[in-house]
């Protein structure tokens, strides 16, 4: 049971959107522009950053749902998601994506831990200003979403299979409610 009175049975952040639709709207708009809006990074790559940060924040609802969306969007390459999240290996990803995930991991722990060398390294692997910006803001935003979901102890379905449909819907329709 969540810490505040939300409707029973609605999972994770959606129960919070229902509790507070006024704040839910800009939160959905933010997820949509960050994960589906124009970016040099594909939606699947951006979902992977979201799932990676959520995993590091130990937020199982956000990790499972964004991993499911990433698997749906990566389609036949979906193994990269489990390689990264479960097997802790980024070997199947491009050097640019690895360098960006390194920055995302730094942002997750604290913004100040990002160094000029981290940025330089990403540039050397082909990242431009927009790749770097979008990576930092996605990682920062999931440091918010994860805390919102877990700080209110919202309902988190236990099994990976529970997130299959959710991931498909997120992949197909995005975040506009």
């Amino acid at each position: 049971m969540a810490y505040i009175k939300v409707e029973e049975g609605i999972p994770g952040i959606r129960s919070l959107f229902k509790f507070s639709p006024e704040t839910g709207k800009p939160l959905c708009d933010l997820a949509e522009v960050l994960l589906r809006g124009p970016s040099p990074l594909s939606s699947s790559e951006r979902e992977l950053i979201a799932a990676f940060v959520s995993n590091r924040n130990n937020c199982m609802f956000c990790m499972n749902s964004h991993a499911a969306a990433a698997r749906f969007l990566f389609d036949e390459d979906k193994q990269v998601v489990d390689d990264l999240l479960k097997n802790q290996t980024a070997d199947s990803l491009s050097p640019k994506m690895k360098a960006l995930l390194w920055i995302a991991g730094k942002v997750q722990s604290n913004g100040k831990s990002v160094t000029p060398e981290d940025i330089e390294n990403a540039r050397k692997e082909g990242a431009n200003d927009t790749d770097i910006h979008d990576t930092v803001l996605i990682a920062a935003s999931f440091s918010m979403f994860n805390r919102y979901v877990d700080g209110l102890d919202s309902y988190t379905p236990a099994n990976e299979e529970d997130y299959l449909e959710m991931g498909k819907r997120m992949g197909q329709k995005g975040y506009h409610i």
């Binding site: 800009p26 522009v33 920055i103 803001l137 440091s143 919102y148 209110l152």
Partner: protein
């Protein structure tokens, strides 16, 4: 100097938001609702949550900006110092202290908020909406602090800059300033 090339000379978060108005729009809207919208918490109380989280994340720009805003809304430097270092002895209501404890736990990580923290706040009279808003404000500043520092945004040293910014945040609020001259005034703090 920020890690990326910005399209303006504004410091801190203001330069980042102006550089990307597409991603800034929902962040601004959310902040305006949470910190300036209808609430049973005063604007100063909500700014205190923003400030304690920024302080604990060691984000110098956001701490200075929101501390100046707390002072502009009637708070004092003494109050801020106690909130930072000795919260239980701060000149605040039990409800406000319990909400700042929740905000501090959210700053660590969402799962650090325990039933006992919520119990204390409810016992002190906090409503579900107050608890919700406290958690979301604290979470939002975990976004801001990481965005500002993760992008290496410029942090002015001149206290006059933060007074000017606080004057805007206590009048216009968090919506995008329509007056380009207001932005020019803040750009001069290099």
């Amino acid at each position: 100097m920020a890690y990326i090339q910005l399209n303006n000379g504004l410091p801190g978060i203001t330069g980042l938001l102006e550089n990307r108005v597409d991603t800034a729009a929902p962040i601004r809207e959310l902040t305006q609702i949470l910190l300036r919208g209808k609430s049973t918490l005063t604007e100063m109380e909500r700014e205190l949550i923003a400030t304690i989280v920024s302080f604990k994340n060691e984000c110098r720009f956001c701490t200075k900006a929101h501390a100046a805003t707390v002072i502009a809304l009637g708070g004092s430097k003494e109050l801020l110092d106690t909130v930072y270092h000795d919260l239980e002895n701060a000149q605040l209501s039990e409800k406000m202290k319990s909400l700042l404890v929740i905000g501090s736990k959210v700053q660590e990580i969402g799962k650090a908020v325990l039933p006992e923290h919520i119990e204390r706040a409810k016992k002190a009279g906090a409503t579900d909406k107050e608890i919700h808003d406290t958690v979301l404000i604290a979470a939002l500043f975990c976004l801001y602090n990481r965005y500002v520092d993760g992008m290496g945004a410029y942090c002015p040293e001149d206290p006059a800059y933060y007074q000017k910014l606080a004057a805007r945040l206590t009048t216009i609020g968090y919506d995008r300033p329509k007056d380009a001259m207001a932005r020019k005034g803040e750009e001069s703090f290099k």
